[in-house]
């Protein structure tokens, strides 16, 4: 056996232990674990920040913080949640599951893989360091421009902007390296006989995400670089006096920013159908249709960016083009929704926690998506834009569509990853608490938004008071519910009822053919797919 093992160059079990194991590891499961842990921690950090915001917005008037600090919390909250919580979680699953799902010994470029992760902690430091420095009187805190970096405000801003710029650079390198690794793995490491059209849906989602990352992250890097030179080296990219244009930054930013939202969800759209088929005990409906829809979304993603600044002033043809192309994204998504539901249809369903999250996810992301469709309408967007309606929209997509999707994945794969079953009862509690408090937090924001409350304001007119109070209380409930999540995970890692290899009665796919937890080197012999 040992002659045919992939790792036949190294003695088994001579892996360093303790911290060195994690610093040096080239093992896809170790790296996946690091990504997932990092993601969870940063989720708590970003969440605690926004709880500060919700506390400030609990009632009219300035209670806790000055407006400048308020703005800093918003931007860092967003950057952390998107780049340090949601994306690493998806990459963590990719590392853990893609080799298992396609029958590969490991990721294709293990050392690069390790680097991809170890770029994240430095970026997290760069993002949060300005807060600490400010305490010692150095600089005036983190970036106060929101996560969108719009100049001239970001040109005017302090040292925090520079830190954020370089944080984005490191995060960008990390994402590109991760994407390269995943693309290579998917093209080169699939088990013999597994054609592309036999790949698990999760692999498909990630393949397209990786392409989007490679195409758009460098553009963001370029944009923030121009911002840096405008700030410190006298260029005039974003300044009319020199023939530049602040709106040009918005084009560059959203050329990345809109694809980013699909970058965040494509992996989720990948594994949710797998969860649905497992708990419906019925193969997923319309595999081909889903794959083509994912491609369509990937393609449309890069041609609709300007819907984020309809009110910045554009020629009518441009407005119409971006409106219609944006609306077009709803077509493939409608197909996906249909396939998901048709997968459940006439299955024999059970509702363990992963399935609960998956079903809840469909409904809540449905709301997020449909409100998105409405936002695409230029005329109405003049009202929605930068109002709390948008904030509600993107938390239905980012928190429900993103984080809750990830949670479904966590419960689905945790037994496979740890070898222990999690506490089903607590899991269900976590779902219901999260779902309810989430809606209580963000439904009111739709209404204050429509009523005319702008986002990114530390204090608001009295007519918005009640809804904001509800939202704030619910937000703290939502936060506390996540502590339950943390507890369930720790409990499961510590021990519990041993999980079978298949874990779930209806589970399909290679990852379920390995033991739980899988051996250190996943597939020493590549399985042959017929």
């Amino acid at each position: 056996m040992s002659t045919t093992t992939v790792a036949n160059h190294e003695e088994h079990h001579d892996h360093p232990t303790g911290i060195m194991r994690w610093l040096t590891t080239t093992n896809h499961k170790d790296i996946g674990t690091m990504y997932l842990t990092f993601s969870l921690v940063m989720f708590l950090v970003g969440g605690s920040m926004i709880l500060g915001i919700r506390a400030e917005l609990f009632k009219p008037g300035l209670q806790l913080m000055n407006p400048d600090f308020f703005n800093q919390l918003i931007g860092v909250h967003a950057l952390i949640m998107i780049f340090a919580a949601l994306m690493p979680a998806a990459t963590g699953f990719a590392n853990w599951m893609i080799p298992l799902q396609i029958g590969a010994p490991d990721m294709a470029l293990p050392r690069l893989n390790n680097w991809g992760f170890w770029l994240l902690p430095p970026s997290a430091i760069l993002l949060t360091l300005p807060f600490t420095l400010a305490m010692f009187g150095i600089g005036d805190g983190a970036l106060a421009t929101g996560w969108t970096f719009y100049p001239p405000l970001s040109v005017q801003g302090g040292i925090g902007v520079d830190f954020a710029i370089f944080a984005v650079h490191l995060l960008g390198i990390s994402s590109v390296m991760g994407s390269i690794n995943i693309i290579v793995t998917l093209f080169n490491m699939r088990a013999p006989g597994m054609t592309l059209m036999k790949m698990p849906m999760f692999a498909w989602g990630w393949l397209i995400t990786a392409f989007l990352l490679v195409a758009t992250i460098p553009v963001l890097a370029g944009a923030v670089t121009m911002l840096l030179t405008d700030r410190h080296f006298g260029t005039h990219f974003f300044d009319a006096a020199g023939g530049g244009d602040p709106i040009m930054f918005q084009h560059l930013f959203w050329f990345f920013g809109h694809p980013e939202v699909y970058i965040l969800l494509l992996p989720v759209w990948g594994f949710i159908p797998q969860i649905l088929q497992t708990f419906s005990r019925k193969p997923m409906y319309g595999y081909k249709a889903q794959v083509y829809s994912l491609w369509a979304i990937g393609a449309l993603a890069v041609v609709v960016w300007a819907h984020h600044f309809f009110t910045a002033g554009m020629p009518v043809p441009a407005l119409l083009y971006f409106m219609y192309s944006t609306m077009a994204i709803s077509l493939p998504l409608a197909v996906l929704f249909f396939c998901w539901i048709k997968t459940m249809w006439k299955g024999s369903m059970t509702f363990e926690t992963p399935m609960l999250f998956a079903v809840g996810w469909i409904i809540l992301f449905g709301i997020g998506g449909l409100t998105g469709l409405v936002l695409a309408d230029v005329a109405a967007d003049a009202q929605y834009h930068n109002s709390y309606f948008v904030v509600a929209h993107f938390h239905y997509t980012l928190f429900a569509g993103g984080i809750m999707g990830i949670m479904a994945g966590v419960y689905y794969w945790l037994p496979k990853m740890t070898g222990n079953m999690y506490d089903e009862k607590l899991g269900k509690w976590h779902f219901w608490l999260t779902a309810i408090s989430f809606n209580l937090t963000f439904i009111p924001q739709f209404f204050v938004g429509l009523a005319g409350m702008p986002r990114r304001i530390p204090d608001y007119a009295l007519q918005f008071a009640e809804f904001n109070m509800i939202s704030s209380i619910a937000a703290f409930a939502l936060g506390l519910s996540q502590l339950l999540f943390v507890y369930v995970i720790i409990k499961c890692v510590k021990g519990g009822k041993k999980a079978t290899d298949k874990v779930w009665e209806g589970a399909e796919g290679l990852e379920w053919t390995l033991s739980s937890p899988p051996p250190y080197h996943s597939f020493t012999e590549q399985p042959i797919i017929k």
Binding site: P60, L62, Q63, N66, P67, D68, D140, G146, Y150, P151, P152, L153, Q156, G158, D239, A240, D245, P246, I247, S280, K282, Y285, G286, T311, L319, M323, S330, L331, V335, F337, F338, I341, W345, K346, S348, T350, F351, V359, I363, G366, L370, L373, V374, V378, A379, A382, Q383, N386, F447, L450, A451, G452, P454, R456, I457, D459, Y460, A461, Q463, E466
Partner: protein
């Protein structure tokens, strides 16, 4: 305020555009609600009908023939196609065209300039031509810090309202002096980003007399939450009266006269607290490092004019007229008297007692402008 007078939708529209927007919005919302409910219903049914613990067996999992599959996935595709490009697409097209047509039949033009953190209005034509004023938040620090009672228009009250005649189509030129701002009155349904160095356009035609309130909608720094928009829409006759009065007032404020230190400090206090206190604080302590303190400031105590009688570069007057970095340039926002007054106030109050150039006279500011 209680839920009773709580709005669950857009506020009452008072311009053709807002009305149109409301219709588009309601229609679109209705459609999406229907989709949502229908799909949800199907899902819920399935969830209850097709569960294992009810002994429901999964249908034989032979994959459907491609033809059937294609037919089925085309159903939702076509439904959304219709909604996007016909049911919503066509009205959306018309609203966009209407929204962007700023000139046709416009009877007057005003210019709106956003700056940190106040709006400036200028009437560009008609008999109101030349009227130009700044509109500042009047909510006090005490109200914001829950010391004083907030009053009903908390954060939505300004000193000088923009006054517009009812029923006239007003073309609005939008620009900014420092960072991006966004001029937004929900009941008007029009919002445009104000971009420094560029001129963007929008239009309003207020068909109902009344006072309408909105806010800046683009993050523009620490004062972003504190630059409301307040518009009075009045009948033409009343508007004409207002124009006449305003012109007289401006003429009066414009004229230059010798002033005593006391008058200057008194008027300066008002100007300071309205314009400068946001950053430099009412007591002049500032918010270092970003916003330097007035008290003991080199500039506020140092000389203003050089030996040649011209104002010094980086002197007190220079800084006020031309600004620097985060400090805005005030030459276009404050008149000579106001600038003279606020400089004198900063030099003689807030714990300062400048010995060189102790007071500045409006005449000197006027001279400096040449």
């Amino acid at each position: 305020s209680a839920f009773a007078d709580y709005s669950w939708n857009f506020p009452e529209p008072v311009t053709p555009m807002a009305l149109d927007t409301l219709h588009v919005h309601n229609k679109f919302m209705l459609i999406t609600m229907v989709i949502f409910v229908v799909v949800l219903a199907i899902m819920i049914y399935s969830i209850f009908a097709h569960r294992k613990n009810k002994g429901y067996k999964a249908v034989a999992d032979k994959a459907p023939s491609t033809a059937v599959e294609i037919f089925w996935v085309l159903v939702p595709f076509v439904i959304l196609l219709l909604i996007d490009f016909v049911i919503m697409g066509i009205p959306a097209y018309h609203s966009v065209v209407m929204m962007e047509d700023t000139r046709d039949k416009a009877t007057m033009v005003i210019k709106v300039t956003g700056s940190q953190w106040r709006w400036q209005y200028e009437y560009l034509d008609g008999d109101a031509q030349g009227i130009k004023f700044v509109s500042n938040l009047t909510t006090t620090a005490d109200q914001q810090h829950n010391v004083a009672d907030k009053g009903e228009n908390y954060l939505l009250e300004v000193d000088n309202h923009l006054v517009l005649p009812v029923g006239e189509k007003v073309r609005i030129l939008m620009t900014a002096s420092d960072v991006l701002h966004n001029w937004w009155v929900p009941q008007f349904g029009s919002s445009r980003v104000a971009v420094p160095g560029f001129i963007r356009e929008t239009w309003v035609q207020v068909d109902k007399a009344g006072t309408y309130r909105g806010q800046c909608k683009e993050l523009c720094g620490k004062g972003h939450g504190y630059m409301p928009v307040v518009v009075d829409a009045v009948p033409m006759a009343e508007y004409k009266v207002w124009v006449a009065a305003k012109k007289a007032e401006i003429a009066k404020a414009g004229e230059i006269k010798e002033m005593t230190k006391e008058d200057l400090v008194a008027q300066g206090k008002a100007v300071y607290e309205k314009n400068c206190a946001v950053c430099h604080q009412v007591n002049g302590a500032g918010l270092p490092p970003a916003f330097p303190a007035m008290t003991g400031s080199k500039i506020a105590l140092g000389p203003v004019f050089g030996a040649d009688g011209k104002y010094l570069k980086d002197g007190h007057l220079d800084r006020l007229l031309n600004g620097k970095g985060v400090m805005p340039a005030w030459k276009s926002t404050l008149n000579d008297t106001e600038i003279a007054a606020v400089i004198t106030y900063e030099r003689q109050a807030l714990g300062n007692a400048a010995s060189v150039d102790p007071i500045i006279q409006p005449a000197q500011v006027q001279a400096a402008r040449q």
